[in-house]
Point group: C2
Chain length 390, copies 2
């Protein structure tokens, strides 16, 4: 069912993700943005609004107002195209997509640009822990020394105990990411890893090793969204945003109903499937938010691909590129990388490339529906998008 105010992705671009020492926050954002504009084949003056997405720029690059920064440095400020920033922790990218989507559906705009960017490598050592811990509840978690990795580790311990899950199962989430990333030129890590490598990697927070943790890295990703009207008028073959959903849970872990059922994900996924009017088993690929391997496992369940405690049955074969439900064809947060503000936008870039048959060696054949799952911190906010070919 195509309606008059449907919204399409008409262009996408991203930088390589990684330790990009020689590129600044603003350079990354503009590089991705210009790629998206070129890809869409529109003029910058066609853009009605810019939604910037960034999480830690104020603390790391001493820069707030990043919507304006991108608008300024790309030159589109000369056309007075408005800009603002959306922040929902590490779900900022999907939140920006969603705000852009709603702004077009409201009839206010025809073309919206989304620019997600993060520059995490300009600080070092414990500083990055201080900054990333601002994503937790500052008074009830971070104040007592909790870090994102520690919170993920708590979740993993309880999950592994209750469902008799081994570290090997967690490792396979990361192994799959690295396998796919080896086929993605934009990925931070393109090396394949074995389960043994993952299990023998440096411990971070028991039971999580460094190969269970998404890396610190820089990067930017950009999208152009357009209205049905614009797409038709300009005869553009876009990728449709079929559904967009967002749901919330408590910020602090201790208030949640379950430590390993992410209700924000459960609800956002259910609502998205309802809106799209499809069943979970019609999804041909999923980009999910595995900032830590445990979250990848849990997300598989909370997105509806397995019963609680049963995701372990999927990690050997089903999640592979040629499996029943390909997970993170891009390489995911573990191996493509996790530059927070860009992460959720980059997930959509991957789906767009897949629908356009431009995903190279990692191309999925006959894709009908893609699901994107971007999560704030340890699950405060989850945002799910379902995309489909036009």
């Amino acid at each position: 069912m195509v309606t008059l105010n449907d919204v399409y992705i008409i262009g996408a671009g991203e930088t390589k993700f990684g330790e990009l020492w020689d590129k600044s926050l603003r350079e990354l954002a503009v590089e991705a943005g210009l790629k998206a504009v070129e890809d869409a084949g529109v003029y910058t003056k066609d853009i009605d609004i810019l939604y910037g997405s960034n999480t830690l720029g104020a603390g790391i690059s001493y820069q707030n107002d990043i919507g304006s920064l991108i608008s300024d440095f790309s030159g589109i400020a000369a056309d007075h195209i408005p800009a603002l920033r959306v922040e929902a922790s590490t779900a900022s990218g999907a939140a920006a997509i969603r705000e852009a989507y709603l702004s077009i559906r409201s009839g206010e705009y025809n073309v919206a640009m989304i620019g997600g960017v993060e520059k995490l490598t300009d600080i070092y050592g414990s500083e990055i822990l201080d900054k990333t811990s601002t994503l937790l509840d500052s008074e009830w978690e971070a104040f007592f020394g909790a870090t994102p990795a520690a919170v993920a580790a708590l979740t993993a311990r309880k999950y592994m105990k209750d469902f008799n899950v081994s570290k090997e199962v967690l490792a396979r989430i990361s192994v799959n990411d690295h396998e796919n990333a080896s086929k993605n030129p934009d990925a931070q890590f393109r090396n394949r890893i074995s389960v043994e490598t993952a299990l023998n990697s440096l411990p971070v927070a028991e039971p999580l090793n460094i190969m269970d943790c998404s890396p610190i890295g820089d990067g930017a990703a950009a999208l152009l969204l357009a209205s049905e009207e614009f797409v038709k008028k300009n005869k553009i073959d876009g990728v449709r945003i079929i559904a967009s959903s967002i749901a919330q849970d408590f910020l602090a872990l201790h208030s949640r109903e379950s430590i390993y059922r992410l209700d924000s994900t459960v609800i956002a996924a259910r609502k998205a499937l309802e809106k799209a009017g499809i069943r979970n088993d019609q999804i041909g690929m999923v980009e999910l938010h595995n900032s830590y391997s445990i979250y990848g496992l849990i997300a598989l369940e909370d997105l509806g691909f397995a019963e609680k405690g049963k995701a372990k049955d999927l990690v050997e074969a089903d999640i592979k590129l040629d499996g029943r439900i390909p997970v993170n064809p891009s390489g995911g947060l573990k191996a493509k990388g996790n530059p927070f503000g860009a992460t959720g936008v980059g997930q959509a870039v991957e789906a767009y490339l897949q629908f356009k048959n431009r995903a190279g060696e990692r191309q999925i054949k006959g894709l009908e529906y893609a699901m994107l799952h971007n999560m704030g911190g340890s699950g405060s906010t989850s945002i799910v998008h379902i995309l489909g070919g036009a």
Copy 2:
């Protein structure tokens, strides 16, 4: 002309603005939010989405994801009501209002909550300069030692020279704010000041004295917006958002066409008036963004109330509560206060109270249209709303 997807303010609340040492970021946000919910007479479960607005919480309170924080601490996270944060520098409050407005117009939501909050007094001395300077262009302005006050002072010097404007004219913007704030129990400063007091106050950045500068302070403001459908169904007498506009200029001052014409304001105001289908002289009150007195003077011109260089003709009589165009009946940024994320939301709270005849001693009679002007930093983004009685 009332259309089916019109949007109304149905409830408003705010904390006192000021140096609120005994209240935390989260306490302030929830206090304002609960007041707004109580004022609207709705149930929290009626709320579909929470738009948080905050500017410097990550740097000062070590807290990102402030949408989630408010959702969590207020308890509405139990209902999984989604939350995110909007940031557009010091225009974050109006940006959140605008995103909530568009989300309702898109048909996605019926009731949106906006919670603007800022806690600036938890740091001291030069730290606050470091943090507020993240609102400038970090590489081209802040890096070289520019501060928001210095940038405003540059603008003031050029403006005063070119248009033969005295410091007394600037002072009158602040004098008017203090006069009005004396009638506002929520204001940070309720003392009246004379032109002489302002002129003899401590210098900050020549030609600006401390009485030309909005204060550092804490505070929160909240609104409930609702759709036409919700308002009709529940027989609520709301205040209509007739127009919402946003426009952009370069972040860095040196790239702009004019140092003292704020094109983002000029364009946002023109678009808002066009959308509302009214003339500037039908506006019965304006809340404008005078973070520094010079910006108040310039905004009067760029919003269309005076020709460039002529706002000086308005400052003695016209801007007063009983004048031709009452300016900042709330007390404005100078005297009601300027807790960034709350500032733009607080402007709407004031207009709402005025339309509801609940503005006490500062009540404006027979108000038909109110204009709100919230600006990012030195003018990167300007957002203009026009409100009207239902």
